[in-house]
C-alpha cells in the first residue's frame, strides 16, 4: 500500500540528546488517520520529548517528520496548529478571563471594517463557535468565560479549537489527569466522534483501563527508545506493563548495609486539606531505613512529603516521632523535630542562586551559629559548612562561590550538606537524582546508603523505578493520593509497583 495514504503522520528515526542524557534514540512513530494511537511509557521514557520535537519546542538532532506524506518542520505549536497538528496540553493554555469564542478564535479573529480600521466581528465569532459546538455535539454557551468552566469543559473547548483549525492530528497529553469519570466518558465520546471523521489522535496516558477502552494502536517507549507498536486488541495489561518496564537488571546502586532499628516516624490517617490531594495515608519509618515512595504523575507523592514537612495543610491524621505525637505546622517545626527536606525542584525551591555555597549550606542552621550579641559567627559557619561539603566532596572553587555557578550534581550536594548540617534524624529526599548526571547520581546513592548506616531514616520520593527498587528497603506506592500498598525489597519488581501505582486508574 502507498505509505502516503496509510499514515497521516510519520516521525522517522528521531534522536535528541541533552547534556548527559540520550533522551530519544532513533525513535519512529507512524500514525494512521482515523485512529486513536496510544503512546505509553514510564515517566521519563521520552514521550513528552518526542511530542516536543514534533511541535518544534525541541529540535531533534536527526530524523524526519512527514505530515500527509510531505516532510515538515514545525517551528512552533502555532505553525503546527495552522498546518493541522494540534496539541491539547496537560496544563491548559487559555485566557481564563475571556469568553469561549474569543479563546477559540484568538489570534485570527474575524474582523469587519475597511483599510487599517478593523474591528472584531463578535457576531461571526459567536455564530462560528455555536456551529462548531453543535458539530461536536457539545452544549456550550460561546459567551461564557473560560475561567468559569470546569476543567473537562475547558478541555472540550481546546478540542473544539483544534477542530476549528481542521486538525487531522490531535495530540492529547494525559487529558484525563484532572477530570472525573463521567467527564472522561464525555471526552471519549468526543474522541470517537473525531476518529469517525478521520482525525488521528495521539493519546498519551498512564491509565491502562483507558488505553484498552479507547486505543486502536499502542506504541510503547522505554528509556528513550521505541519498544514497538502493537494493535491494542493483541495486548493484555500484563503484556503492556512488561513492555513498558523492560526486563534488564542493573547494577547502578551501592549496597545499603544498615541495621533497621525501632520506629522513628509513624504517620496515621494523614489527609490533605486539599480534597484533590492525598487521603488517609498511614505508614511507619524505622531508624536506618530507606522508605521509597513510588507512583505515577498525579499520585500526590510530593504533596504528601511537603505536608509532613509542614509546608501544606492537613485536615486529619496524626504524626508521631519516637512515639510522641507531634504537630508540624511549618518547616521550622519540622526542622526542630529533626527533619530535613531536599525538594524535587532544585532551582525553584532549593538553592538561593545569588548566595554563596557557604550561606546556602548554613541557612536552616544559622540559629546555632550566633554569638552572645546574636551576631553571626562567620568563622564558625565557614568551618562547619566546609566540613560538610568536603565530606560529600562538593566540587566548588571556594565556599564563597555563588551556588548558581556550580553544576547540578554539586548544587545537590550542597543541598544535602545543608540538611545534614541541621543534624536531622529523618531526611526526606524528593527526586534526589533528578537532572544530575550518572556519576553524581551514584555519589548521591552512596551518601544515602551511608546515612542509613548511621541510623538516619530516609524517605525517598522517586519516579525512577530502578532507583526505588535499587535503594529502598520498602516501597510505599500511592495512586491518586491513596496508599495502595507497601512492597518489601524482596517483592518489589517494576511490574508489582506499576500494578499498585495504577490500581485506581
Amino acid at each position: 500500500m502507498d505509505t502516503q495514504n496509510e499514515f497521516v503522520l510519520q516521525m522517522k528515526n528521531i534522536s535528541k540528546s541533552f547534556p548527559g542524557v540520550r533522551a530519544l534514540d532513533d525513535v519512529t512513530l507512524n500514525v494512521r488517520p482515523g485512529s486513536v494511537h496510544a503512546l505509553m511509557g514510564e515517566n521519563g521514557a521520552g514521550k513528552s520529548t518526542l511530542m516536543k520535537c514534533l511541535f518544534g519546542i525541541y529540535h531533534a538532532e536527526s530524523g524526519e517528520i512527514f505530515f500527509k506524506g510531505k516532510p515538515v518542520k514545525f517551528h512552533s505549536t502555532k505553525i503546527a496548529l495552522e498546518a493541522g497538528v494540534s496539541m491539547i496540553q496537560q496544563e491548559l493554555s487559555n485566557v481564563p478571563a475571556r469568553s469561549i469564542s474569543e479563546n477559540i478564535w484568538l489570534g485570527r479573529e474575524p474582523t469587519v471594517g475597511f483599510g487599517p480600521f478593523r474591528f472584531l466581528n463578535h457576531r461571526k465569532m459567536r455564530e462560528d463557535t455555536r456551529a462548531l459546538m453543535t458539530g461536536l455535539d457539545m452544549d456550550i454557551n460561546p459567551d461564557e468565560q473560560v475561567g468559569n468552566l470546569s476543567i473537562s469543559r475547558q478541555q472540550a473547548c481546546e478540542i473544539a479549537k483544534a477542530v476549528s483549525y481542521d486538525a487531522s492530528v490531535v495530540v492529547m497529553d494525559e487529558p484525563t489527569s484532572s477530570i472525573t469519570e463521567t467527564e472522561t466518558e464525555h471526552l471519549f465520546k468526543i474522541i470517537r466522534d473525531l476518529r469517525s471523521k478521520g482525525v488521528a489522535i495521539i493519546y498519551i496516558s498512564h491509565k491502562m483501563s483507558e488505553i484498552f477502552k479507547i486505543a486502536d494502536e499502542v506504541s510503547v517507549m522505554r528509556d528513550g527508545r521505541m519498544v514497538g507498536s502493537y494493535a491494542a486488541a493483541d495486548l493484555t495489561e500484563d503484556k503492556l506493563i512488561s513492555l513498558m518496564v523492560g526486563r534488564e537488571g542493573t547494577n547502578r546502586f551501592p549496597p545499603v548495609e544498615s541495621t533497621i532499628g525501632e520506629v522513628k516516624l509513624k504517620v496515621s490517617g494523614l489527609t490533605s486539606a486539599n480534597p484533590r490531594s492525598f487521603k488517609d495515608v498511614s505508614f511507619e519509618l524505622r531508624r536506618g531505613e530507606i522508605l521509597g515512595i513510588g507512583g505515577l504523575v498525579g499520585a500526590q507523592r510530593t504533596e504528601l512529603v511537603e505536608a509532613l514537612f509542614g509546608l501544606r495543610e492537613t485536615v486529619r491524621g496524626e504524626v508521631f516521632i519516637d512515639g510522641k505525637k507531634v504537630k508540624i505546622r511549618s518547616s521550622k517545626d519540622a526542622i526542630r523535630h529533626g527533619m530535613g527536606f531536599i525538594t524535587e525542584d532544585r532551582r525553584g525551591s532549593g538553592i538561593f542562586p545569588l548566595l554563596s555555597v557557604s550561606v546556602n549550606t548554613a541557612i536552616p542552621s544559622l540559629e546555632h551559629f550566633q554569638n552572645k550579641l546574636r551576631l553571626l559567627a562567620h568563622r564558625r559557619i565557614l568551618a562547619e559548612t566546609t566540613k560538610y561539603n568536603e565530606a560529600l566532596r562538593t566540587k566548588t572553587p571556594s565556599m564563597a562561590t555563588l551556588i548558581q555557578n556550580l553544576s547540578g550534581g554539586n548544587q545537590q550536594k550542597v543541598l544535602v550538606s545543608r540538611w545534614l548540617m541541621t543534624q536531622p534524624d529523618i531526611i526526606i529526599m524528593d527526586e534526589p537524582t533528578r537532572g544530575i548526571d550518572v556519576g553524581a547520581k551514584y555519589e548521591i546513592y552512596m551518601i544515602m546508603a551511608d546515612l542509613a548506616k548511621q541510623g538516619k531514616s530516609i524517605i525517598m520520593v522517586s519516579s525512577e523505578m530502578h532507583e526505588l527498587i535499587g535503594m529502598s528497603h520498602r516501597i510505599m506506592v500511592l495512586c491518586e493520593g491513596r496508599h495502595t500498598g507497601t512492597l518489601d525489597k524482596s517483592e518489589a519488581t517494576q511490574e508489582s509497583i506499576m500494578r499498585l501505582a495504577a490500581q485506581f486508574i
Binding site: S331, I335, F341, G348, S349, G350, F352, L354, I363
Partner: protein
Amino acid sequence: MSASKTGVSAATRSFTAGRAFVSKNTNLVTFIILAIVLSLLTHGKALAWDSVQNLLIAESVRAFAALGVGLIIITWGIDLSIGSVVCLVASVSASFAQNPDYAAALYAGKDFPLWLPIVAGILTGAFFGLFNGVLVAYGKLPAFIATLGTMSIAKGAQLIYTRASVVGSLKNTYKDFAQGSVGPIPHLAIFVAIAALIVWIVLRHTRLGTSFYAIGGNKVAARVSGINVEKNLVIVYLFAGALYGIAGTLLSSRLGLANALTANGMELDAIAAVTVGGVSQTGGIGTMSGMIIGVLTLGIINYGMTYLGVDSYYQLLIKGFIIIIAVFFDMKKYARRA
C-alpha cells in the same frame, strides 16, 4: 627580552586586577570619576570642604529613606509611600516642636518636651511601615499596590492633620538637632553614619539580614529552609518605616518647618539612588555601601548640575535618564536569572 616579557605580564596582571576591582566596585568607581570630573570643571571649588558639607547635609535625609527602601528591595519588595510618609512624619514631629507662643501653632500655648517630636515622628513612620508590611506579608498584596495605597493615605492624613497649612516656627533647640555640627562634621552626617552602620550589621552579621537576602533570592526555598517569610517581611517594612520616621523628623528639624510639599517625590530619589548603587530590582542583591554610594552619586550629580548652572528642569530630565540607564544595565547583568 625576558625582562620586558615580565614587565608586560606584570602590567597585564595589574591591568587584570584593576579591571576586576572596577567590575566589582562599579558604583564606587563611577562616583569617584564623577567627583573628579566635577572638581576639574570647577577648578576644585565644587569639592572644597564647605561644599562637601552642604552635599552631606542635603543628601543625609535621603540616605535614611534609601537605606530603608534598599532593604525592602533586597527582599524583592518596593515602597512607593516614602515621600508621603516622610511628609506626614515631618508634619507630626514639627507640630510638637512649635514655639508655644506662636499663635498659629497646631497646639498653641503648649510646650512639649524635646523628645516628644522625635519619638512621635519615629513611631508614625514605624506605624506606616508596619501597615505596609502586614498588607504585603499577610494580605498578600503586591508591594507596588499596597504602598501606592499607603502613599495616598499618608498624604491625606498629612493634609487633615495640618489642615493643609504650613507647620512652622519651630523651636531653636529642635532645629539645632539637625542643623548643628560637631566640629566640622554636621550632626546629620553622624546620624546617617550610625544608621548605615546598623544596616550594615543587620545585612552582614545577622540571621535577619541573611533571611532578607534569602527571601529576595528565592522565597519558596526560604520557606522550606525554615525561614518565617511573613514575619521577616513585616520586620523589613517596619524597620524601613522607622528609618523614614527618622528621615522625616530630621527633615522638619533641618528645614524648620513642614508642609504638604515636604519630601515630595522622595520615593523616586531613594529608589533611584539604591538602584544606581547596585541594589537589584530582581531581589536578593545589594549592600549598605552600595546604597550610600548611590545616594552620594545622585547627590553629586544634582549638586554638580546646580553648581554648573544647569536649569532645574533639565536636571529632572537628566536624572530620569540616569535612573533608566542604571536599571537597564542592572537588568542586563542579571538577565540570565530569568
